[in-house]
Symmetry: C2
């Protein structure tokens, strides 16, 4: 998808072109006698009846040309870029492209204005992932889905939204890593589970349709001449099942998401949007993602790049062949985004590039998706009463603030934090390009928030005397006099730095993950003044090594992209109104890592000079995955737990309880968490598995379970119950089978490990999931 700045431009240019839904008139319109308008029928029968009423020309017109672009990768405000609908049936035009990654966003399908001039903008996924608070993620999903549906009900948006982005954040260079819940497959899976449950609602009807993207192996924008449009990701079956697919399995098999998006890249030679093994054998058949005839949408232009295009895969000799290959492989809806080409499904159909059954099936899936949202249920349908009063509620504002507070990670602290600030006598220097960067806090795919509270604004709202000065981003020359001056007048220096979406963004990966040199120079000068310096780092991660040995840098905080109230959150943490408890959802790599690990190497395991990827395999982190300090200390006491389980008994206890053996619960571990400090704090309890089980090489450790305890009072104890399932104990073999092995398992609690539990599994190994092998 294209970057949001362009979308904003177009929305601004063409405010008069409304791009939202018009609900069909099921009472008096031509469909009133069609079964699709009968709320008492099943959604599959309703959609089939609608498709049966359409002729092939109508089907073909609505199948493919879902977006019309006027220039490469920029969305047209021309209403013709919508699917045209079927006027004969009073089926209005529909735009399948709507975005809501962390709040209703600007893009072609959504018309902002009037009572809908703002929507809640939560922190980016990388920041909310750091909360490790899945009930909060579900609440956030509920609010985003509610606001999105309210926009749609007012005719200002449509009913499907291309969110969440759950590709594991494999390499720190990726420009879109901040859109995801981080580097760990299990964390991404759990985040997706909570988000989709919130966004789509408890089912079977959907508040809105969520779309899990990008299926699969997409995590590179550009690396030399390799781009996302032509990259062939070579992924072993083991890595695919173990690392790249778990979030998508969650979306499809377990969360029954309404839609999935196929990616730009190829996997092992086959472009994702033409890969019947991935879309049919795995996604639909192995994961049983067929209960509601859910549909697959292509990323914008992915099918174009299948064809004989410059910079693409050159997988098919013509656009007609590309369209046919994609539909036949299981994609149902194509976002076509290239000017100067005319995607022509009719001629592709006439050339027999795809068949009648495929056409009907794709149309059925799309229409059933709309049926499931209540599109044909009339004005008393579920979710139809959501309106402007459900947008930007007080509850939503509170949650956006809390999400940011919970996601902030304290990387270093020598006791300087929390700050004690006297309003009358303390002056604070707030220095750096992020300090007052209200426009930067949202990150990619954003909408207009009801307000933007940057740190300087938040501090002044608290009555703090602030001496603000700008700082450089990546400029080689920057006048630092203003910064030095502000620091001189202050007793504490808070430096806001790192990177932003001018450095990392969609279509733009980084080549370096070092701190920008100009910022380091300024920090060095400030550090020579002898005053305490707090560094608040924003954006995705850079290597903090230079700061760790820099004198007077007393504390480092990471806030990512903290959303509409991010400045308030940062100030609440700094001043101790809220205690930090977030944990890194990624590894902070040293800057040398980008020289050791070729960006295009998809392997997770180390070999030779290749260092491997993620905390599971890579050993040299600056800050490890799961790192996060508190303002006080905690003590862990592990409850009684068995020392041994016979695998036969474990499997017997699963019988009759679950459809999929990997979802069978394993006995939970109880841990008493005592706050031994002097102030209340949340506490994230992470449980990693390590040990001798399954074939070598074995990972260093693997996140297996976690929970977040809210607000543990000083001196008090709360009991955390760590729930988990067999999936967390299983390993994936080279054929992709998920296997429960005998061996010794140690659950390591917290990062670094503060306590552990060891137990054995005995007996014969058991295959929990037999993986369908790829075509030879």
């Amino acid at each position: 998808m294209v970057w949001s700045t362009l979308a904003i431009t177009f929305a601004a240019l063409a405010p008069s072109v409304r791009a939202g839904i018009t609900y069909p008139d099921c009472t008096n319109g031509p469909l009133r006698t069609n079964l699709v308008c009968d709320r008492t029928a099943g959604s599959s029968a309703r959609a089939a009846a609608l498709v049966a009423a359409m002729n092939n020309n109508e089907k073909l017109a609505n199948l493919i040309k879902c977006v019309l672009f006027t220039s490469h990768l920029s969305c047209s405000a021309d209403p013709r870029s919508n699917s045209p609908g079927v006027s004969r049936l009073d089926l209005a035009p529909y735009q399948w492209w709507n975005e809501a990654l962390h709040g209703v966003a600007h893009n072609r399908g959504i018309t902002w204005g009037g009572q809908f001039s703002a929507a809640t903008q939560f922190p980016q996924a990388i920041t909310t992932a750091a909360t490790f608070d899945d009930p909060l993620i579900e609440q956030m999903g509920t609010i985003i889905g509610t606001e999105a549906r309210a926009f749609a009900n007012a005719g200002r948006a449509h009913l499907d939204f291309w969110t969440p982005n759950v590709n594991p954040f494999r390499d720190p260079r990726w420009g879109r890593g901040h859109e995801t819940p981080g580097e760990d497959a299990f964390r991404n899976k759990k985040w997706a589970e909570a988000f989709i449950r919130g966004m789509q609602g408890p089912g079977p009807s959907h508040r809105v349709i969520a779309t899990c993207k990008h299926y699969a192996g997409y995590d590179l924008e550009n690396s030399g001449s390799t781009t996302r449009f032509n990259f062939n990701a070579r992924i072993s079956t083991q890595d695919l099942v173990e690392y790249y697919l778990p979030p998508f399995q969650q979306c499809a098999r377990d969360s029954k998401v309404g839609s999935m998006m196929c990616a730009y890249n190829a996997v092992n030679g086959v472009p994702a949007c033409a890969d019947s093994y991935m879309m049919d054998t795995i996604l639909r058949k192995h994961w049983n993602w067929t209960d509601q005839n859910q549909y697959i949408v292509s990323d914008c232009d992915a099918v174009y790049y299948l064809g004989n295009a410059n910079g693409g895969h050159r997988y098919k000799p013509s656009y007609a062949a590309a369209i046919g290959a994609s539909l036949q492989a299981g994609c149902d809806n194509m976002c076509w985004a290239t000017p100067g080409t005319t995607p022509d499904p009719t001629s592709a159909f006439n050339q027999r590039q795809f068949d009648q059954r495929t056409l009907d099936k794709a149309m059925l899936r799309l229409m059933q998706g709309l049926v499931n949202t209540g599109y044909f249920d009339g004005p008393t349908g579920q979710y139809r009463n959501l309106s402007a009063s459900d947008v930007n509620t007080q509850q939503a504002r509170h949650l956006a603030l809390r999400a940011a507070e919970e996601g902030i990670v304290l990387l270093k602290n020598d006791g300087t934090l929390p700050l004690t600030i006297s309003r009358s006598s303390t002056q604070i220097a707030m220095i750096g390009f992020w300090a007052n960067a209200a426009d930067k806090m949202l990150g990619g795919y954003s909408g207009t928030p009801p307000f933007r509270h940057d740190p300087v604004t938040a501090a002044r709202n608290m009555g703090i005397t602030v001496n603000y000065a700008p700082g450089p981003l990546t400029q080689s020359y920057f006048d630092t006099n203003q910064a030095i001056n502000a620091a001189q007048r202050s007793s504490i220096i808070i430096f806001f730095g790192g990177i932003d979406n001018t450095v990392e963004k969609e279509s733009q990966d980084r080549t370096s993950i070092a701190w920008p040199a100009g910022q380091l120079s300024l920090l060095k000068r400030l550090s020579q003044m002898g005053k305490p310096i707090i560094v608040v780092r924003m954006g995705t991660h850079v290597d903090d090594t230079p700061l760790l040995s820099m004198p007077n840098v007393r504390a480092i905080l990471w806030a990512g992209y903290p959303g509409q109230d991010g400045g308030t959150a940062v100030m609440n943490i700094l001043t101790g109104r809220v205690s930090p408890a977030g944990r890194l959802p990624v590894t902070v790599y040293p800057s040398s890592y980008t020289n050791q690990a070729p960006y295009t190497n998809m392997a997770l395991r180390p070999s030779g000079s290749y260092p491997g990827r993620t905390y599971r395999w890579y050993n040299g982190a600056v800050f490890p995955f799961g790192h996060g300090l508190h303002y006080m200390t905690f003590r862990l006491d592990v409850g009684e737990f068995p020392t041994s389980f016979a695998i036969a008994d474990v499997m017997n206890s699963c019988r009759g309880t679950v459809t999929y053996l990997d979802l069978c619960p394993f006995p939970p571990v109880s841990v008493s968490v005592t706050n031994t400090g002097a102030r209340a704090s949340d506490y994230v309890l992470l449980g990693f598995l390590a040990g001798e089980f399954g074939p070598a090489p074995r990972p260093i450790k693997t996140l297996a379970t976690y929970t977040r305890l809210a607000d543990v009072p000083p001196g008090e104890t709360k009991v955390a119950k760590l729930e988990w399932k067999l999936e967390s104990l299983a390993r994936v073999d080279e054929k992709g089978n998920r296997v429960l092995y005998p061996g010794t398992y140690t659950l390591l609690l917290d990062q670094p490990t503060m306590a552990n539990v060891t137990f054995r599994l005995t007996g014969e190994e058991v295959v929990l999931d037999q993986w369908p092998q790829p075509p030879a």
Copy 2:
């Protein structure tokens, strides 16, 4: 089982005879080379290896004569009443009879004394059921299981306990109704689920083995010449599946309980302990209760009464034939309790009353039960470290108090409660046989508690000036001068009355459910004094009608059997330290009900002059199921909920998520609960389904979902999320199939209804569970 008073007597008479387990020596003993001592093997293989090492004489000796009685229905302290074990294999004697209904109890298998002279005694099930707080029930189960295992580890008990009692409380006359969670099948099911999860632990190992009793249709002690030993309960397949079996399905199919007990009575002509349809076709095959080869134990003497005995079923012509019939039908372990007969499994075996396969299978099941508890795991096995320090903990005492407080139900209040008591100037009259009845508060199947706080003791501990006077129970003459005198000196009268375990108990049903006449006479005299009267009613229910029109009876509270700290709980509620929020888990019937409904009629539905049973079918309650007042008012606001679901969509959304369709989640209903009063209070939100779905006659309403909100502050709102599954929407047809029908469903919130949600299910009906038909 026999009543606990006798068991207490025997325990007291023979304190020197220890009746607890001795763990086998798996390091140096003769079993050290047997696979049963190999913790790494599966429990089934371990148990099979042990059974393979036993000869038939050893198997037969350990199979049947599990309890030796010296007189009819009284348990012998003679160690020969234990199963003898196998000395050749160093397998010690074992006693399968241990009780822990609401705390470790007195009976043959348990030796009290030393550090184990007391154990936590929770309220009876009828009182904890009134909490509608399933997390509390789970915690209670955990504590009971922990204390029971600690007794066993110390060689003072064994590893299986005959609890819970989950027969639905069908008729108010039943003497053991207070041992159960009440009259509703769904409530009993949920109570059992929580209790077993706590008691057995999260699995696959068992803290102790729980035993769900009595399977099935047992809810009558005696009615004229009909006794539990010869009663043939005639139950339609529809009533059986809909009402009598759901708790047992929960135990077996879903909670995978370690053991079940077959009942005394017959169902439709076949005594329960000889019924292969019930024990094999339903329990083991249809409910898949075979994953751990779980065993069935007979109630004590149930097999004896199968034979040609006076007062029994006369189902078989000899005890040998009775033994054979029971084993062949699926019972594995028999409690034989009749003196003067010599149960002789060897001769039954030689007569081919049961076969080798049956013998081996029963022994395997029993031994695997012990393997599952870690009996053969050596001193480092799970749960082996539980000791005296885990008994009567502070946490357990708190929970016993809280369970009583949460279970107390406010039946009537004109605003007099909570009482404002000035310690210096207010004198309170506490009158009645229950007021200081420390010995009565525990109810049937009790052990020795660490203390017994009756109401008078609790009030005096609070510094209240109490004028105590006794009152009658069922005496026709009672001197009331003392009571009148106490009332004259006091400004408030609290009357403690109702019935106790001398009126209702095991082997003794009631014939009347009216308030005892002598107590009413005294109450009338007190009411003429013009002082406010609070009635605290204990025991199971009597008809409160006379009190509702009696002048000056300002409030009525029901506390059941509130356990070791029940008096404190009552006083905390009366004085407003704790707000009442319990709800009746039974219907309070008018006393005329016992004339209208023949006790032996098992039908639930009304017909002709037969009034039907439970709140689902009976319309004339004094206080209905679910009734319970508060000290303040609540407002309910129901969240958005769909108005219609197509059954096809609902079923599609289940696909791949559950093994059993009745366990498929249905979308939850969110309800905002606002405390509009001036003090904090818990709030139980009950959701009943009513409407037009499934065949007539239709129930008035049916409990479908509930939750308990803790501590809603005054003026504040908490959101209750009512979770439910398709089981709650389904009805049972005449063949016993559980069916999801199209129709109009209304969820009625609270009792009486304060809000409701109506939705439709549309499309074709779906069978969620196809019931195996009984033999013709």
